[in-house]
């Protein structure tokens, strides 16, 4: 084994995530940060990127790349108030590229922020009581929580646990507030939090001074909707509810989607369901899982550093034993649960408390004003009158939540006025598809994703119609690289980018986030992908069982990847 990876060295020398960020920000001759700081700024919720559409042009122009920054919020459970919405909306214009983007972890992303305005942007976000710490980096990222329990006491419970979990696992360094907010830290209610240690002398009792070996994702799922794709998470909690009461959670560990093309040692893995715990033990158990990964995760190879490899390298029994030892005893056996879908619950529905929720379809989570679809303006108008809250869903959609009966007509009118009713007009394919950002900002992308989604969906819908299957549900996900931001490895049909215009085609996932798909063919251009799908759709149309979905048919024909256990049977 070789020594620690270069990022480990950067972390360890960073004085708890400070590095030379302040100097980098102050350097006026470049729009970039110093190289080491580009690693550290991730922990602060931002990535340095460049406009890849302009990269070659600017090279010839003897200009540095068009550097800009992506800022991602920390937003446990994806909850924002109308006032926060208006602040986010203003930031999109004042500092970013005029759009808001909702992510598959229920956060918002801003793109195109230049270095000289980065600090002002951070200040504007924090003024709206939204921070960005640990939204990226080798830490517990934004905690996802099921977004479709609106109007039931369980919604508040899920959100509350996601917030507590997020807070509990946050870095304790004050570097974030020192660098971006001149040391002024405030609590969620706006009250100041004083510093207790000198800068750089704070303690990181949970994460340690070098933080985690790699990113760490956690989520809380509320059956029967697996919108958070709990099996894709490093750490997951599946709520176990009886008669409307939360009994506790099944613990899941070791999920993860990321892989690298051509490196068989990297692979997606579904989380293992390893036990049950009562609600009050959630933080203790989560912290223990994090500590195990902190202590045993591979710090020499970042492509082998997620919890899934730690578990596979040592075996699940080892993990059980280690966890039991640290917790002072084993967990109870997992309880029965059943997921019916990983998709969103679109349109209007009424909660137990009589309040209404409205889930809107926002393809790729991009909120922009476009010809015929002035969505950003529409949602700003809605935020101006709405008195409940908003939920970003892990499927990049938006729930307008907690709507009183009397507000319904007003909101419905606004939704129509601003053409926000795509959920009613879209085919199931368009309604359920996911895409990551990819070009032109993501430095990892090898191919288009978000920008390609609309055209590809249209072509696949045409193929479905051509094969006598118009409007047939089909879960499609497109990513520009195999790191898995849009969880493509769980889709019935997935394109994973290899080069501009070329994708690996994966088939055979299910619609509940419980089966990995498998590589069907590599490096295909669009005509080849469409020809391949056309052939398969034709066969599927002929051979499918009643209502049999494409992914299930593919799997029956040609078994796809591993399947997460469905414990429904265990209950009976």
């Amino acid at each position: 084994m070789s020594g620690p990876s270069p990022v480990e060295k950067i972390k360890s020398e960073s004085r708890l995530l400070r590095g030379t960020l302040a100097e980098s920000l102050a350097d006026p001759v470049t729009g970039a940060l110093r190289e080491d700081d580009t690693q550290l700024i991730k922990f602060h919720g931002s990535y340095q990127q460049d406009d890849r559409d302009l990269r070659d042009e600017r090279r010839l122009q003897k200009l540095e790349p068009a550097w800009s920054f992506m800022i991602r919020t920390r937003l446990p459970g994806g909850v924002v108030t109308p006032a926060q919405w208006l602040a986010l909306d203003a930031i999109a214009d004042d500092f970013a590229n005029g759009t808001l983007r909702m992510t598959t972890r229920q956060a918002f992303q801003f793109h195109g922020i230049v270095k000289r305005e980065l600090k002002a942007t951070m200040a504007a976000l924090n003024a709206a009581l939204i921070d960005t710490i640990a939204a990226c980096g080798d830490v517990n990222r934004n905690v996802a929580a099921s977004s479709h329990a609106g109007g039931s006491p369980l919604e508040a419970e899920m959100v509350d646990w996601s917030q507590r979990l997020s807070e509990h696992l946050l870095p304790k360094t004050r570097a974030y507030w020192d660098i971006w907010l001149d040391g002024k830290r405030v609590a969620a209610d706006g009250t100041p939090i004083p510093a207790t240690a000198a800068p750089g002398a704070e303690q990181e009792p949970i994460l340690g001074p070098t933080y985690l070996p790699r990113k760490f994702k956690s989520a809380i799922a509320l059956p029967p909707i697996n919108d958070v794709d709990v099996f894709s998470q490093d750490l997951g909690f599946i709520a176990i509810v009886a008669d409307g009461h939360l009994l506790g959670f099944n613990l899941t560990v070791g999920g993860g989607m990321g892989m690298t093309h051509g490196e068989p040692a990297t692979y997606p893995r579904l989380a293992s369901v390893i036990g049950f715990l009562p609600p009050q033990r959630l933080l203790e158990v989560a912290e223990t899982v994090v500590r195990i990964q902190r202590d045993f995760g591979d710090r020499t190879n970042r492509r082998h550093a997620r919890l899934k490899y730690t578990i596979d390298d040592r075996g699940l029994p080892w993990f059980h034993a280690e966890l039991a030892q640290r917790l002072g005893g084993p967990l109870e056996a997992p309880r029965a649960f059943h997921f019916s879908t990983s998709g969103d619950r679109f349109g209007w529905y009424q909660g137990e408390n009589g309040r209404w929720q409205l889930t809107l379809r926002i393809p790729a989570g991009r909120i922009a004003d476009r010809d015929g679809a002035p969505w950003r303006t529409g949602l700003r108008e809605i935020a101006g009158v709405h008195r409940g809250h908003f939920r970003v869903t892990p499927n990049q959609n938006l729930v307008i939540a907690d709507i009183p009966e009397g507000e319904r007509a007003t909101l419905e009118a606004l939704v129509r006025q601003y053409a926000l009713d795509l959920h009613e007009r879209a085919t199931p394919l368009l309604r359920d598809a996911l895409a990551c950002v990819a070009m032109p900002t993501c430095p990892l992308a090898m191919a288009e994703a978000e920008r390609y989604l609309p055209a590809f969906v249209e072509r696949v819908d045409a193929l479905l119609a051509h094969n006598g299957l118009p409007g047939e549900p089909l879960l499609l996900r497109i990513t520009g690289c195999p790191n898995g931001c849009a969880r493509p490895q769980l889709a019935e049909v997935a394109l994973i980018g290899k080069a501009p215009g070329r994708y690996n085609l994966y088939l055979g996932g299910d619609s509940r986030g419980q089966r990995l798909n498998r590589l069907h063919r590599e490096n295909l251009d669009e005509p080849t992908i469409l020809a391949e799908l056309d052939l398969l759709f034709a066969r599927w149309a002929r051979e499918r069982g009643a209502q049999e979905r494409f992914g299930d048919w593919m799997h029956r024909l040609w078994p796809a990847g591993p399947i997460a256990p469905d414990l429904a049977r265990a209950a009976s």
């Binding site: 006026p28 302009l54 042009e57 540095e64 068009a66 093309h261 051509g262 090898m446 290899k498």
Partner: protein, 608 residues
Amino acid sequence: MNATLPASALDNEQHAALEKLVQGLDPIALSWASGYLAGVSRARAGSTTQPLAAVTGHGPGAEGRTDAAIRATILYASQTGNGRRVAEKFARSAESTGLAVRLVSAADYAPRELASERLLFMVASTHGDGDPPDDVRALLDLLQGKRAPRLERLGFAVLALGDSSYPKFCETGRQLDARFAALGARRLTPLQECDVDYEPGAGLWVDRSLALAREQLAEIGGPRLAVVTPLRPAAGEASREKPVEVELLASQRITGRGSSREVRHLEIAAPAGRLDYEPGDSLGIVHRNPEIAIDGVLRAAGLDGSASVEHDGRRQPLSAWLQAEREITKLSRPFLEAHARLANAAELGAALQPAGTAQLRALLKDWQVADVLKRYPAAWSPAALVGALRPLAPRLYSIASSRLAVGDEAHLTVAVVDYAQDGERRVGSASSWLAGRAAETDTVHAYIEPNPRFRLPADGQRDVVMIGPGTGVAPFRGFLQHREESGATGRNWLFFGARHFDDEFLYQSEWLAALKRGALQRLDVAFSRDTLKRIYVQQRMAEQGAELFRWIDGGAHVYVCGDAQRMAPDVHAALIDLVRVHGGRDAEAARAYVDQLLAERRYARDVY
């Protein structure tokens, strides 16, 4: 200096003949002969850059050049790091067996160095479907372009890394291998292509290459090569009267797409002996007026371009006069006076009176001939108009390069003037003509306009402060190239300004690379329109006043280039002020201090 040449590569007979030739030559003739020999040497080497190898004793940097000739270069272009790893392994093995090798990333490799390489081992990855790593694009551009150097003296081997699942497998390596060979280099071993599991193939290649490197270095590392110390040859033949027709090699916009201003970087052939220049000199361009400007004049005057006009004993159509022989984008006072009379324009007449100075200045600055003709109509005859307009003068552009860095080329930084006046498009005459000369086959007529007042210090240990906002930065690109290539040890400080950081930071990537290399010590920038309050270079000078004064008081040379109307006076005032504040002098003494700098030629300006 002793008259005998050290470490001569000449035999006794040749040496005696040379001694005989040299005797009796005066310093100017000696200098000329030296330059002549340099030219011959360059021509024989078939290279556009400096002579390849130097021997001893001819100033700093000479030793370095010797090494370049007898060591192997391991060059890598890597996207994911695999290429770098292979190259590093190769370098380590070579060093451990005592071979002289240099390991360099394509990111840090100046493509023109290629011409002086003797032995090159290249590791190049391909990513995506045939895309080269960003680092190697510049080298590929050079190799595939019309200025690709001949590489007869080069022996090479290429290792290509790729992913065979892409149609264009190992494309970058294949291209490099093919181009090296096509340019005359010797392929020491066939191209080795490696797939995703590159290690076995790469290992074989490294082993084979190590053996080859050992053989080749033994072969070429023996007797050292002869040297010619490059000195400045006599002034080139071309002159304003007799400009030389030279090829336009490249024309590249260097403002980003977000800028409303077009600034272009031009690269023009500058054959030795005909267009010799030193940093600080200008290139005179003999241009023609653009069609749009000619049309504007003809339309405003109501004249037909085909009208035949005799003037100075020559007869040609009016449009030909206007195109190549008359100023029509710049106004002159004599023309305005003649026009005011003919048009009976009292308003124009008033501007020409002593009281109208400000009005006249504005008019001369913003208006072209067509604007005057349009505003104050007059019945010009074709012949009278040709007689009243000034002859077309060449335009001078500060040269933005050093021969030491670019060889037989001169680079220019040209702001393309293009604006609307009264709803009509107006263009700068030479700049738009140059901007239109982008085609591969285009040529320009040019000559060197020496600027002996704007010269780098002869003493390379002196510090240099360069203040060049906008296209005023042009000569400083040449200065910096020259300082670096000549091995000057003094520090360099550049002040640059523009309206916007994002799209108008001229030559930004070159300055950043120079900072990283340590060739530029300080860079201060002012972008006037990125902030609410407008910031200019003189403010940055004031902010850095203490340090700037230390440099100047320590003997630094100060150069200013660019706008003469506002920038130069503001910078001058800023200089006086910082001498006052940080030099502990009153205003009078500070002014005297700066005047003394001018007198000593430690403060030079090239403003326009």
